[in-house]
């Protein structure tokens, strides 16, 4: 049977991808972050994942205001890096796991989570930057990826609680799939940041560290947090952290923290990554 072997919360700052793509990871600006990553990469590698369900938001790349799915699951076998205005990122194509993705779609929809099914979807930095963080610069990504897109740009995004509940439905779906697959769920985006307006540059370290702590043993606080509180406390783009709740919901009640790095700032954003595993009884 398929099994969820780990969960990752991780920022998806475009500049982190660019630092990797353009050979800047040894620059003093970037070493505080990149020097911390080998430990996380080792943990991920040791988990031997076959599939990563990568929860992220599209940033006006595959979707625009023309069509705004709240949740869209990529069921294709292949996803191309999107042109976000610079030309596509020079990273490997993202290979999907069509059979598992379709199973999750069917299972979740019948479980009353109405996912939009995307058979064609280019993936932007929201999806490819976490892959760089997890796997560095391989010729091919070492896992299959199921992209799960969440609208967090057009208000209202789904609530944190809804995201958590969807995570639980995904856990039920994955763990009923007959193939022996080791699955990691990554919730990406955040942490506190605001890109827009006169308040651009807001960072709330206290909020972020509390959010990370609460993921472990007090997640009720995180999942019940309102949109208003996320936006006010963590910045207008900090609301991306609702997506981490899908990851948290896909794990058991009891989890163990295996890795954490928090760094201010990567470009305009407080960068956070946390690696979790279900607690073994």
């Amino acid at each position: 049977m398929a099994k969820i072997v780990g969960g990752i919360g991780c920022s998806h700052v475009p500049a982190v991808g660019a630092a990797s793509d353009f050979g800047k990871t040894k620059d003093s600006y970037w070493t505080p972050l990149f020097d911390a990553l080998p430990k996380a990469r080792k943990w991920i590698n040791d988990l031997r994942p076959d599939v990563v369900i990568l929860v992220y938001n599209d940033h006006a790349s595959a979707f625009s205001l023309e069509l705004i799915p709240t949740f869209a699951i990529g069921t294709a076998d292949l996803f191309k890096p999107a042109d976000e205005g610079y030309g596509p990122r020079d990273v490997p194509d993202v290979k999907g796991h069509s059979a598992l993705a379709w199973h999750i779609a069917e299972s979740c929809i019948l479980d009353e989570f109405d996912l939009t099914i995307a058979n064609h979807m280019d993936v932007d930095h929201g999806c490819t930057v976490p892959l760089t963080v997890f796997f560095d610069q391989p010729e091919e990504w070492p896992v299959k990826v199921i992209p799960l897109c969440v609208n967090v740009i057009q208000f209202p995004p789904p609530t944190a609680n809804r995201c958590f509940n969807l995570g639980q439905a995904i856990q039920r779906a994955v763990e009923s799939f007959p193939e022996d697959l080791r699955v990691v769920v990554a919730g990406t985006g955040g942490m506190s940041h605001q890109l827009q307006g006169e308040r651009a540059g807001v960072v709330n370290t206290e909020f972020d560290l509390t959010y990370l702590d609460n993921l472990i043993d007090n997640n009720e606080v995180n999942r019940k947090m309102s949109h208003l509180e996320f936006i006010r406390e963590a910045g207008s783009e900090g609301i991306e952290m609702v997506m981490w709740q899908i990851m948290r919901g896909s794990l058991d009640d009891q989890v163990e923290e295996k890795f954490r790095k928090y760094h201010v700032a990567s470009s305009n954003t407080a960068f956070g990554i946390i690696c979790l595993e279900n607690k073994t009884v």
């Binding site: 790349s61 205001l65 540059g201 960072v203 709330n204 700032a265 470009s267």
Partner: protein, 136 residues
Amino acid sequence: MTYKEKVALRKAFNDIPGTYVLTPEHSQKGYGLNMFCMSLNKEENRAKFRENEAEYLKGYKLTDEQRDAILSRDYLRCLQLGGNIYYVFKIAIFDRRSMQYVGGKMSGVTEEEFRDMMLSGGRSIIGNRSKEEKNG
């Protein structure tokens, strides 16, 4: 959610200083502007815009104010007129400007000053939660 609750939420959003949430009202106002920005994802459109900006904009439903804000690269004005940062940032990408340049321009500092502020921990949340807190 009731209509009354919605109105209260808008009021609360409006109380956050320097922040433009893409509410349904905002989105309707900025649809043409945001969709113009979206078009810059395609290289052929970038080439056309590069050739003649004003001419290219004729293909989008924009108010005069929105057109001026785009042509003068007034990012903050674009947001105030219905833009969303992920869309508006595509104009900056087109001009090869960084997000820190844009952040600085919107908040009245240089790119370097903005970068330094981020390196020293970012803009403090203290005093920036509400207009009342900020002005009081």
